[in-house]
């Protein structure tokens, strides 16, 4: 059948009509010639031909593309049915939207964390070099410039380019980013110091201006130029088209902007947005970087990128690297670690996160994928369930349509069309949900001074995946009821209007309710575990009193202060801050407990020899001002606080925490003992006091040894002013900001209350995020379970109206009816709960490491959550059961 004829079938129909008319004319004429009257002749002709309308219809049908024609009918009819049942439609579409949307958002995040490639040329060939220490993740990836030069000389030819780079700020011994001054205002900027070939190794082209020349960066402080990232150029310089050639100051050093990087390139690191690139030699403008660092083999602050040659793999290059690493270790020994040799480690998106086993991101991703798939399954089951219930409710309708002559195939297709229309609506709503959720995830605010970027994008591929999963499941869900509905026992259905229950379908529905309760319970338990974990992390004694403490972090080095000038600045600031009204105490520290940074390193303790193969004795440390422990509310258990008199000219002193005293001087008095830091000074440090343990690194690990030295003896440019006050945090912060402004107007200050600071990435952030995300998913699961249980139960009651009527007429008591109806639902719920507990237990093993203060089989969580779900499910059972009590026996019996 040609398509052409399909569109011309009206014309064809007319042609046929003419042909049939011609037959009638000829036959009538012949009949007349045989001697019939005109009237008789026409009647006889019609008899001979048959019904012309039927014939035309038959030919018309032969000409039509039946599928398209009936599809359109199906769609119109389906739309009418969906409009007629707005409650069912809304619930089904909402369910699908939540399932698809939640999964799209989760997968978008996972995709970004795990699979997205760097926007550079052939990202898969990029590797970074590192000494392997056991597992692939335990690598030592820090090199010095002489080491970089030797590696390039020995095996640079085996690669398609090799570049070295160092983070500005943190790696220079600071704890915060650098500062960029433009038009009299200084703001923190994340810098990256790179060798001249960095951009060409990545294969990037500048959006404006130029990148660095190969030799730029090879000598200290010689190339005062910078390249901005596209996004930073947009936000800080409003996309100024004439930016090239303008000058800014970085840490007070004037540099010229020579280029702007390509759009969408945030740097090669995970999360951290690199805003300005400078030649490697300019690292000297960072505090704590020595002018001669390029020549020092112990200044190991560089990472090395190496691009594999086309067609070679990281494994093929290993023998060459083994040779190089032997030479390297012989010439520049790395004393404290047992290293296995150098490897080229693939650069995993979105940066140096390797996706091999043990990667915490991989496991987090796995957990959320599991939870997301659970939600999707629940959604699918729910829709399937709704369709089943509805199909049964429409048995009479289907029977009537079949009795009126609808073909079985048509009925099936009609039902499937309706499922598909639902899926389509759900898909549209799912896109909306997914977009909103993805944006919400991307907008998560991290309380940190570092420029962190979440670049989640709505992932259409993922969306297509979730969509096809739902489509498939709603089709599967639609097929069973469609097949059954289309094979109605006409007689039975039309006669008793479907009084008898088909037990097979009932069983399928029961199975689904059980699955829903099980899935929902496991989601809720995981959510409960995360919430409990957050609670216990929050309640755990951090060892200091974070309330009423405000933090003001600043870095005079960002505006070009020398160390001496910085010291004077802080002295003045501290004095004047202490004099402010409402300030109880004020002090300085190089870093905030559980903040963005931590300092730690090896120490030498008299009498403790480092054992070969064992980690060198080490401790965290902080540089603080006198009064720090008072401000933080940490009791000094032994000895004295630091004093103003502890200065550069007096002996070096430190306070230590109880953990350090117990670890290195067990059972002895640590006071008066000495230790030293194996650096260039190697000065003995005398212990003058011991403080109570408090949390410094994160809220859950065991407390490790730590010591506290005076800022006057160990100066750091980035310092946080802690202020304990009686009044509101914001009021105090305002006062101090005015104070800073009067001393140094261009000084950038990052403010937070201590409670806010503790919500950071190293504090409670991950716990809170986990609790919120799983809470949302658990809530989704709960809603889906309620809808599922309620739907099936109320349907089952409506089907048993007749039976209930008879029982009541025969004298059944209300309690008996309630039991009768409720028992079935409660059985399903109980079975679902039992399975759910088992599933949750399995998932719990996966998240075990993310939990603080509770185990993965935390009994209270299991009990409370199960009880909650049981109560909710019982309520969902009981509402329809109670409506069964309102059945009027007379009506019920007469009705049928």
């Amino acid at each position: 059948m040609s398509l052409l004829r399909f569109f011309r079938r009206r014309q064809w129909d007319e042609e046929r009509a003419r042909e049939l008319a011609a037959y009638l004319e000829i036959e009538t004429a012949e009949n007349v010639s045989r001697g019939m009257s005109a009237e008789e002749a026409r009647t006889a002709a019609h008899c001979k031909l048959g019904n012309p309308t039927l014939l035309r219809e038959e030919i018309y049908r032969m000409n039509s593309l039946g599928f398209i024609e009936t599809l359109w009918q199906d769609i119109r009819y389906g739309a009418r049915m969906l409009r007629k049942a707005p409650g069912f439609t809304a619930v089904a579409v909402l369910t699908l939207a939540l399932g698809i949307g939640a999964n799209t958002a989760i997968f978008s995040m996972v995709d970004w964390l795990m699979f997205q490639q760097l926007p550079v040329q052939d990202p898969k060939a990029l590797t970074y070099l590192g000494f392997v220490r056991g597992g692939p993740l335990h690598t030592d990836v820090q090199f010095s410039f002489p080491e970089y030069q030797q590696i390039t000389a020995e095996c640079g030819a085996q690669f398609d380019g090799m570049a070295a780079m160092a983070f500005g700020g943190t790696s220079g011994g600071q704890s915060g980013p650098d500062g960029l001054t433009f038009q009299g205002k200084t703001h923190p900027v994340q810098t990256y110091f790179v060798t001249g070939n960095f951009f060409s190794v990545l294969g990037l082209k500048p959006a404006m201006g130029r990148f660095f020349a190969p030799q730029e960066g090879d000598s200290a402080g010689a190339d005062p130029i910078t390249v901005l990232s596209w996004e930073y150029w947009l936000s800080r310089f409003q996309g100024d088209p004439d930016i090239i050639g303008k000058s800014v100051a970085i840490n007070g050093h004037v540099v010229t902007i020579v280029g702007v990087g390509p759009k969408g390139f945030f740097g090669p690191t995970p999360l951290l947005h690199i805003q300005a690139y400078l030649p490697l030699g300019m690292l000297v403008i960072d505090a704590g970087t020595r002018r001669d660092f390029l020549g020092r083999s112990d200044a190991r602050s560089l990472h090395i990128f190496a691009r594999l040659k086309h067609g070679t793999t990281a494994d093929q290059i290993r023998p060459a690297l083994d040779v190089v690493s032997q030479h390297l270790l012989a010439r520049y020994p790395r004393p404290d670690e047992k290293l296995n040799g150098m490897r080229a480690v693939p650069l995993r998106p979105p940066g140096m996160v390797s996706s091999e086993s043990g990667n915490p991101l991989a496991r987090t991703a796995a957990i959320f994928i599991i939870l997301g798939v659970l939600v999707l399954m629940l959604a699918c089951v729910n829709v399937a369930n709704l369709l089943l219930v509805r199909a049964t409710a429409r048995r009479a309708e289907m029977a009537v349509r079949a009795a009126l002559g609808a073909a079985r195939g048509r009925l099936i297709r009609q039902l499937l069309t309706e499922s598909l229309m639902l899926a389509f609506l759900g898909c549209v709503a799912g896109i909306a949900t997914g977009l909103v959720a993805t944006r919400a995830l991307g907008a998560i605010h991290l309380p940190t001074i570092l420029p962190v970027s979440f670049d989640f994008r709505f992932n259409w591929l993922v969306f297509a995946g979730a969509l096809s999963a739902t489509l498939l499941s709603s089709l599967l869900a639609g097929i069973a009821p469609a097949l059954q509905a289309a094979r109605p026992n006409l007689n039975a259905v039309l006669h008793d209007a479907g009084r008898s229950l088909t037990s097979r379908r009932q069983r399928l529905r029961s199975l689904m309710v059980t699955a829903q309760v099980a899935g929902s319970l496991s989601l809720l338990i995981v959510a409960g575990l995360f919430t409990r974990s957050l609670q216990s992390a929050r309640q755990a004694d951090v060892g200091f009193d974070p309330s009423h403490v405000s933090n003001l972090t600043m870095d005079p080095h960002q505006v070009g202060y020398t160390d001496a000038k910085g010291q004077a600045f802080y002295r003045e600031l501290l004095e004047r801050a202490r004099a402010l009204p409402g300030v109880e105490s004020a002090s300085l520290a190089a870093w905030i407990p559980m903040g963005d940074t931590e300092f730690g390193g090896p120490i030498d303790v008299n009498g403790i020899e480092p054992i070969k193969g064992q980690p060198h004795p080490s401790a965290h440390y902080n540089a603080v001002s006198p009064g720090y422990f008072h401000t933080m509310g940490i009791p000094i258990e032994q000895g004295r606080d630091l004093l103003e008199s502890d200065s550069t000219s007096s002996p070096h002193v430190a306070l230590i925490n109880r953990a350090m005293a117990e670890k290195y001087w067990p059972g002895q008095d640590a006071l008066g003992r000495q230790f030293s830091v194996p650096d260039e000074h190697n000065r003995p440090i005398q212990i003058v006091g011991v403080v109570r343990n408090f949390r410094m690194v994160d809220p859950y690990s065991p407390i490790e040894p730590a010591y506290f030295v005076p800022l006057t003896q160990h100066y750091f440019a980035t310092v946080t002013l802690h202020i304990r006050s009686a009044g509101s945090d914001s009021g105090v912060i305002r006062q101090v900001l005015t104070l800073v402004d009067s001393v140094e107007p261009t000084m950038p200050v990052y403010t937070s209350s201590m409670t806010e600071a503790l919500s950071g990435i190293n504090g409670y952030f991950l716990f809170r995020l986990g609790a919120i995300l799983t809470g949302i998913l658990g809530g989704l699961g709960l809603v889906l379970a309620i809808v599922g249980v309620y739907g099936v139960m109320s349907y089952s009651v409506s089907q048993r109206t007749h039976e209930i009527g008879i029982r009541m007429a025969l004298g059944a008591q209300r309690g008996q009816i309630l039991t009768l109806v409720g028992r079935q639902g409660l059985w399903l719920v109980t079975a679902g709960l039992a399975i759910g507990v088992l599933v949750a237990f399995a998932v719990g093993q996966l998240i075990r490491d993310f939990l603080v203060g509770i185990g993965p089989a935390d009994a209270p969580t299991y009990l409370v959550v199960s009880a909650l779900l049981a109560a909710v499910a019982a309520a969902a059972c009981m509402v329809p059961a109670r409506s069964a009590l309102r059945v009027d026996p007379i009506l019920a019996l007469r009705n049928e």
Binding site: M1, E15, R16, R18, E19, L20, A22, Y23, E25, I26, E27, A29, K48, L49, G50, N51, P52, L54, L55, E58, I59, R61, M62, L65, G66, F67, A407, G409
Partner: protein
């Protein structure tokens, strides 16, 4: 697309049979529907009583398969009528169907009268 074949001639004559008869009729030359219907009736000695209308869907189907072609002409008694003629493809098809029909008839005959001849 559902196959809704022509109504059987009368009783249980197979659908393909009507096609065969139509094609065979047209071997003699072009004819219009009325003539074809009567030709089938007469040549079967009135055994095959055709409801003449059922012929038209069959004609349509055959034309659709390009076994016959149609044109408007004038009938013996000067009336406009739609004429059908056999196409080369139709001639080939007729040969195929005829031999298949004969095979079928022979087979059935052998079953019904195994001892005869």
């Amino acid at each position: 697309m559902p196959k809704r074949g022509a109504h059987p001639l009368q009783g249980e004559v197979l659908q393909g049979t009507l096609d065969l008869l139509v094609l065979q009729t047209l071997v003699l030359g072009p004819a219009h529907g009325h003539t074809i219907a009567y030709a089938i009736e007469h040549r079967s000695d009135d055994v095959l009583q055709v409801e003449h209308g059922s012929l038209y869907p069959a004609l349509h189907r055959l034309e659709d398969r390009k076994w016959i072609a149609s044109f408007w002409g004038t009938s013996e008694n000067n009336r406009k009528a739609r004429y059908y003629r056999l196409t080369p493809a139709g001639r080939k098809q007729l040969a195929v169907q005829t031999s298949r029909w004969e095979q079928l008839v022979n087979a059935i005959n052998r079953v019904l009268r195994p001892q005869s001849e």
